[in-house]
Symmetry: D2
Subunit: 351 residues, 4 copies
């Protein structure tokens, strides 16, 4: 059994980790860390876990935790793990960080977008960006995983094969993303009250959202050069789900014609045909967030627009599963040599 | 492996059966019956099942199906199974009917509330009312299960121990129920359009809802006498979930005092302490539909009102799971001697 | 022009007052009081009012306000007005209090249910309970109006004629109420976050909700004797709307027969036939909260249950309009001799 | 009084017309046309209008209607008015058509995108595209108004000043639109059921949506040349509201610098400063659909992205008001020389 500790177990991502690990046959959750609810029964915070999780919440004592756990999940605010992580901890336990602390290789980019000093840049080089479909082999050998966020996972996976194969001009990439409200976390803010979100759509963080450089870095590796993209997140009146709609100009063939749908499909299949958690939809089918809800799938579809020479790529995932906790479990499975789908073979719930 | 056939596989309850059986280790679904979608790929109707269910939809040929299947689930409209069932079929396969055809023992009551002739009343006596917590032993020996509906399961389980123990006056029982919209089915009716249901609450079927006699019959057995109740269903703007709020006058002790909360709790525990799918909540905790969503649990709480001498009992379940498909799987497990929780050990999803 | 000041203008009820008074031809809003947003532009808090309301938020200075305003609306927490009100203020301006401070005549009942000391019980006798349909004449002559809340307005109006006419046994009255989430206010609490409320139904305040004694007092006047009722509020996943479902045993005629639907209808018509804001629905029609949304209407319907001898009464209103701000405007119109419907002739919005 | 007839009065746009005209002081609705509900009381179809609209539904007899009405609103499916309109009718009454029949000047474009023959192309030249902010003077003199749809109104108004002033490269324009579900109409389709839409986001009509050429034609006039754009509509789980997020490359100044936010703001102000129904938001403020709900406003904001050289323009409106019925009333006011805001001075409802 893998002994797992969770710091931040009462946020939405942390709670989803608890739910998924509870159904994972080879994991024993030994630490439910939650600063806000120390000594309270976990099930009194999350009533769905009544009679399923019997434990109480602990504090965030990493020092103690690394002695008990084989793997530590940190579902914590930006800067938390960066301010505490030590080499000694990494020698004792593997770390899967759900925050952005180790996602960007360049500490200056981190500090520019997050407006905070990075307290342990020495681990940036070692940290592996935990997008399993792209970095599977490095993940298996890692000690520290930077688990990608919901927007970035969906944005990158949806465009990756076409960027990698040079079928689109990455400098024209525009990503319009729509997110369910659980992505905003469980903090008590007026802006996230039911009455403010319900029956409402809005963009936010326009031109300044922190996930932008993460997408640019990863897709830049695929493109083989630095890229700049437009990324606009929107808040949608639903609990779960990310939908991205991505626009890019196709790179024309030598004869001036556009690449065919078949060519694009082959590119997607080249990278994803054997991926257990990516479903390339039938031609013309648009992904819907409801079709992936509560599962670890990313659904991807695309449509060529002959009139404008662009392709519209679309991707959908559950922000708390493939966009957070599910991907973290997938990374854990890789880290510990388990079957990658263990604990994640969940059919999406509908309706 | 149990070979299972489903008639009505593209309704919401049928689709939930497909989802649950897909995750059940000892079941092989051999027949996806759907009159409306014959020869269409199942996953083209329910996109969530893309790459999970590969089959196409078949017709409703019971004659053929009973030769292939060990168990037939009928998630069909009232009157469907009643008009087709034959002794020969029951000799070949076990039947779990999710409609109301065999739930009421008295055919006259059926015909009065459902306004249709019952075409096979000869099976009414044999049919077992598939409320596992109440009729477990009969279920194990049955050939034909009348799987209770969502309102009735929640209504009966919430009051059963107090009625059975004579702690409430069953003639005062008033059940006010609130249901998610998936209970209304997938038929294309204007009244169930998003814009008509969203931001709306209404009662319907007031004093005439067909689930009333079913609750009366079952709680009448518990009371040891015929009872008449008030039952009012309401449509709530959510996909899943039933919440019942039940009111009844407590039967006073000989000295005129009311029974204590401890007494009521002991009554609930007497019947439910070992039930895997009933969670008796801590004192004062009110159930919430979200805490049971996608799971097979029924959560129950109660509160005594000293001022009026009444008890308010509350129950919550997921109408598509414990209120339909989950209970059907639970019945199947009992019928075939499997572990009762097999395929149903699902932690509720939140949020 | 009536000069109106609002204390608590940035809560949901206060904001609805601002919206309604903005459309009222004879009112000039001279004071937007909001402790939390002093000196901030009102439209920066409520973006819907951009370019409609140009003012900034003021503090809660009653002393100054009564010199400027003809009428003061207090949309404030329990105890606020009770702790500040003076005879001098009442001589300068009329007060319409949307809190519960002056709704209960018996200060001991107030203190028992609200768990706080009442700081100005000397005004309790003078205060008029501002349910226009019941107390219209006293309202016209009042200085201090205790504006009823959403649950109570809906609960009382729905049962009042049948209680008043002795057609139901008031001691059997059970009120099951469902409320939209704006009734919980704009305070930043985790329990009211979108993800916690959406796709969820729950009861709360079971047997202990503070609106209970208010309903009992008012319906007790109608009954001519003290009554005790059961009142259970529920939180529904929608922004606006209250639906009450009320159960009571009918008082049988001398020959043991039940009163007819026609008799009940006549009772409703006796009190409501000329009421501009009560719509008695056609026989058998159940009210829906969506049919009254954004309007000042209360829709009422009922159904007799011959089997149990009970009547099921149903009422629906918009909790922020007839349940708060609309009723306050209606009271203001009465206080100042304006046409009662002025500023309130709003067709409900659908969908 | 203007006598108004409505064909298609029981669809969502038609019903909104009924609501708005009911509150319009100078209009008398003389004809509620609805094929599906002939002879039924209008209020039995739309319960919100109980005791407000007393009439019954008529058939679609244009021949009779033009003799009674000064203005005919057709809120009907594509092709309806085109197949019936005659010169004689236009001599008797003014027409405001809410369908797309007369929106495109080039009949070949209409037939290519709508896949139907246009039955009265002779009126295309005369018809005025009823976007009041752009074509106000022609509207005043028109007999036949092609009332723009919800997506197009929002898409065009949001980009118009920047296109017109040559500040953006119109060939780079990408419009990502999110719509509430009332835009899909009241037809009983499974895809629009509550359970299918709720908790779901999806794109549809990708690269092929019929509103594309309408946007291209109108913005092409502003650009002074033909343009091709990308337009992607999405279905959002809310009743009302359109949000558009529009991306375009800014045209750089001679010195290679980007135009400033101040320059863009001046362009918007040049066209919209005096517009009663356009609100240019403060710098950095993103529009929210909830801030315009139930009103005739379009809210517009923008943000320059220095990194990519693009501008992100955002617009929000209520699809049933400014996107349909409100704009139709605004057109009617212009046609009949009434105050343009008459009947439309509605503060948005929140929450």
């Amino acid at each position: 059994m893998i002994k797992a500790g969770i710091i931040g177990a009462t946020g939405y991502a942390g709670a989803e980790l608890v739910r998924l690990l509870t159904g994972h046959k080879e994991v024993d959750v030994c630490w439910l860390g939650s600063r806000s609810y120390i000594d309270k029964k976990y099930a009194s915070v999350y009533g769905n876990m009544f009679q399923i999780v019997e434990g109480t919440c602990f504090d965030d004592n990493l020092e103690a935790l690394v002695n008990e756990a084989d793997v530590v999940f940190t579902a914590t605010p930006q800067g938390f793990l960066a301010s505490l992580l030590k080499e000694e901890y990494l020698q004792k336990a593997k770390f899967i960080d759900l925050s952005a602390d180790y996602r960007l290789k360049d500490v200056r980019v981190y500090e520019a977008w997050y407006h905070m000093e990075h307290k342990s840049p020495q681990f940036l080089k070692e940290a592996v960006y935990g997008l399993c479909e792209v970095n599977r082999e490095q993940i298996k050998r890692a000690r520290l995983i930077a688990n990608p966020g919901c927007y970035t996972t969906c944005s990158i996976l949806t465009a990756y094969p076409l960027v990698k194969e040079g079928l689109i001009d990455a400098s024209t990439l525009i990503i319009d993303a729509k997110s369910g409200t659980s992505g905003a976390g469980r903090g008590a803010k007026a802006a996230n009250l039911f009455c403010e979100v319900n029956e409402n759509m809005k963009a936010y963080g326009v031109t300044t959202h922190r996930h932008t450089p993460e997408i640019e870095e990863q897709l830049g590796y695929a493109a083989g050069s630095e890229i700049k993209i437009s990324f606009t997140p929107h808040l949608a009146p639903m609990n779960r789900g990310i939908l991205v709609t991505e626009y890019a100009s196709l790179v024309r063939n030598a004869d001036g014609s556009l690449p065919s749908a078949e060519t694009l499909r082959r590119a997607y299949e080249k990278y994803y045909a054997d991926e257990p958690f990516i479903r390339l939809l039938d031609d013309g089918t648009c992904p819907e967030t409801k079709w992936v809800e509560t599962s670890n799938y990313t659904d991807i579809g695309f449509r060529i627009d002959e009139r404008t020479g662009r392709v519209v790529m679309m991707g959908a995932l559950d922000n708390l599963v493939k966009g957070a906790a599910g991907q973290a479990v997938q990374n854990m499975n890789l880290l510990f040599g388990r079957k990658e789908t263990e604990g994640l073979a969940l059919a999406p719930v509908f309706p």
